[in-house]
Subunit: 88 residues, 2 copies
């Protein structure tokens, strides 16, 4: 699994390419909150420019509880998982 964070999209594109090159045939992109848009970007850059045989096999969205540093309590954040499958 590749967890999308604050780095530029190409960092994650490279990470996924490496996993596929090392023999994995499925890689999951995971992101929370504002990084969700970047996860979709990464999946599209991979499909359009690097791995023409990769398919989006599944997309899961949901809500997760995370620690809220300001309030000390819990808050809800949206999440996405994009399952990329090679040779699907």
């Amino acid at each position: 699994m590749v967890l999308i964070g604050k780095k530029p999209p190409m960092n994650y594109v490279l990470a996924v390419l490496t996993l596929f090159q090392n023999g994995q045939d499925q890689v999951i992109l995971k992101a929370r909150g504002m990084a969700i848009s970047k996860a979709v970007d990464v999946s599209q850059i991979l499909k359009n420019r690097f791995l023409k045989d990769v398919e989006v096999k599944d997309i899961r969205i949901g809500t997760e509880q995370v620690d809220n540093q300001q309030t000390g309590g819990k808050s809800n954040v949206s999440s996405i998982e994009i399952v990329l499958q090679r040779g699907a």
Copy 2:
């Protein structure tokens, strides 16, 4: 279809609720670029707080070409469509 833009999420939650109240049993949330995260937020707020019987029936991600005001040319932008189905 509800196109997610720059307004707060609750504006779109209200728009979807209105469409369901007017008898639609399926509503598509559509967003491009950074608004993709907000579209997922809207779907989760609806499911978790307002419409317990609504299911995410399908999620489609893709790439669209939009006019780039700075360059005058075209540029790629990611897009998402989240299909919300009532009583699925």
